[in-house]
Structures are given as C-alpha cells and as structure tokens.
C-alpha cells in the first residue's frame, strides 16, 4: 500500500510514476509529482520506481491567474 495525496493506493511490484498516474487516471499533462518529498521529473516518470509504503504527492496545475 502507498499514499497518493494522503489516500491509500494499492502497490504492486514494478510500479512506476507513469503507471501510477495511469492507475489514478491523472491524465492531465500539467502535473508535478513528488515521491517521499523528492521531485520526480516528468521525463523520468517511466523509470521512477515506486516502492511499497512510499508517499506520493501530485499537484495538478490548472489554468487561471
């Protein structure tokens, strides 16, 4: 089990940031991800592994200002 924005999400071996975003249906492109308080760059989502128990924060940036 891991946390995504404070909510439980099931973990499985081989989980990456890219896969997690797909599972959460976070399909908007303007998104910032931090894993255990460390920035995960967008270009590395496929390679960034997520471990069991990790704390993932996603910020979905939206237009307006």
């Amino acid at each position: 089990m891991l946390k995504v924005n404070g909510q439980d999400h099931p973990w499985h071996p081989g989980l990456t940031v890219a896969q997690l975003l797909k599972e959460k249906n976070y399909i908007f492109h303007a998104i910032i991800v931090r894993v255990n308080d460390k920035y995960a760059p967008g270009e590395d989502y496929d390679k960034t592994a997520i471990n069991d128990g990790d704390d993932v924060q996603a910020i979905h940036l939206i237009t307006g200002g």
Binding site: F28, H29, A30, I31, I32, R34, D37, K38, Y39, P41, G42, Q57, I59, H60, L61, I62, T63, G64, G65
Partner: protein, 290 residues
Amino acid sequence: MKILVNEKPQEIATGSMVSDAARLYKNNADLFIRNGFPCGQDVKLEDGDRLVLIKKGEMPKREELEHLLMARHTPGVHERLKSATVGIAGCGGLGSTAAVALARAGIGKLIIADFDVVEPSNLNRQQYFVEHIGQPKVEALKEIILKANPFAEVECHQVRITPANVSQLFNAADVIVEAFDLADQKLMLAEAVQKQMPDKPLVIGNGMAGWGDNNLLKTRQVGRIYICGDEISEAGPGMGLMAPRVGMAACMEANQVLEILLGPDPRIRSFIEQDKQSTLNMNKAKGERC
C-alpha cells in the same frame, strides 16, 4: 523609561500617558497608535512601547513616512520584512495583486517579471488602471507599488520567463511567487525551480476561476511548494476570471509568503489555543466566541 516615538528612541518619565508624549513630541497629533493599535490619549505608556503620533491630513516628511506607513504592523515585523526579497513570476491577476499586498506589508525588495503589456481585458482583475493600457506591465506595476509604498525597491524584468533565465531572475529571492495564467507556464516554473533551486520556497496560485465558494480556497504544502487556490476551478471557454476570487488566491499567496518569512503568527496561534481552552473549560466568564 525608554519608548519609541515615530521610530525615534525617547526617554520619558515613568507613568507618562500618551497625551504627555503627544505634548512633548507632536503637539498637533490626533491619531495615536500604540504597539500597532489605535488608542486614546488617556492610555498609560509602558517601557519599550512603540508609539506613533499622526496628524490626520498632514503630509509627513519623507524621512518619517515609512514608519507611519507601517504603524499598524505588529511591532518588530516590519524590520524583518524590510530585509526580505520576493520574486514575482508574472504580473497579471495573481502577480499584480500579490505584489501590491507585499509592498504594503513592507517587503524590502520585489523582483517582478512579465513580458506583456497592459491591455483592456486585464482590468477586470488586475491592479492596473485605464491609463496604463499599452504600458509594459512591469513598469505600470512598479508605478502602482511605489505609489503605495515608495520605500519598496522594485526590480523590473520585461522578459518571457523560461527555464533558461529562472535562476538568473530569482536566485536572490527568499521566496518565489508563481503568478502565471496558463497551466503550462505554471508547470514550466515549478519544474525549473525544483530542478535548479530545490530549496527555494515556491508559492503557486492554482484554481480560482469563477465567483463565490469562498471556502473552497485553501493552502496545501508539498515539500517547499505551497499551493493556494481551490485546485479545481480551471479557467477556460465559458469559465472566466474575476477580481474577487483571483484576488483571494493572490492574497493567499502573499499571506503565505509572510508566513514563510516570519513563521506562523504566534498571536493567532495563541488565540486558537485560548479558544480551545475556553471551549474545554466552558469558561463563560471570559466570554464565548460564536
């Protein structure tokens, strides 16, 4: 005892009243502000008090204007903000309002950056006036800021902010305020700051289109990123932006900057604690809050 009168240290007899200080230092004063709050003349002064004496309607000399402008601040706060530098990335609805609020709060230096000029559709939510249409936003904003607080230092950059110039623009800032309109721009800045200046606090405005629903706007902290807004109301065709809600998000950003620079306000924390205690003890004698 020692007190500060219009920021000048003065020695005054123990037991003196505000009226005594007024007689000695500003005979025609008709507004008295003691430790950040207006008071009557019949209030007894205490050692270490900070007293500001103002004559309403009188234009102060430049050398005494700055502390008169900050007379309603909690004592000690202005000195700390005066030494701070804040970067404002974008001078639209979020940036112009946050910058004016921070300048009024007495931030010493603002670095403002925006490539654009003021056009008519900006005026429904941005701090500009009709006379500014056609002017570079950074120049117009500097003029407005200095009208409110002529002691703020304003560094203007009329440039498009890109990953290539972010650190050059904002490296000297203690905090960066993200104040763009478009999500892609917000993303560009957030990515660049995290890659290039990971320890720099970044305050983002995110989700403030439409009107109403005051209580949806909130602040969320993720690492050194502080997100202000409702995170759901996206501007787009059929979904406009208006001064009140954009202004709320902008002032939440400015307020967050103050908390980053000063730490949480200890007085607010103590009010919260008192409130809890009063509820726990059912202390009717102290009066109940609604």
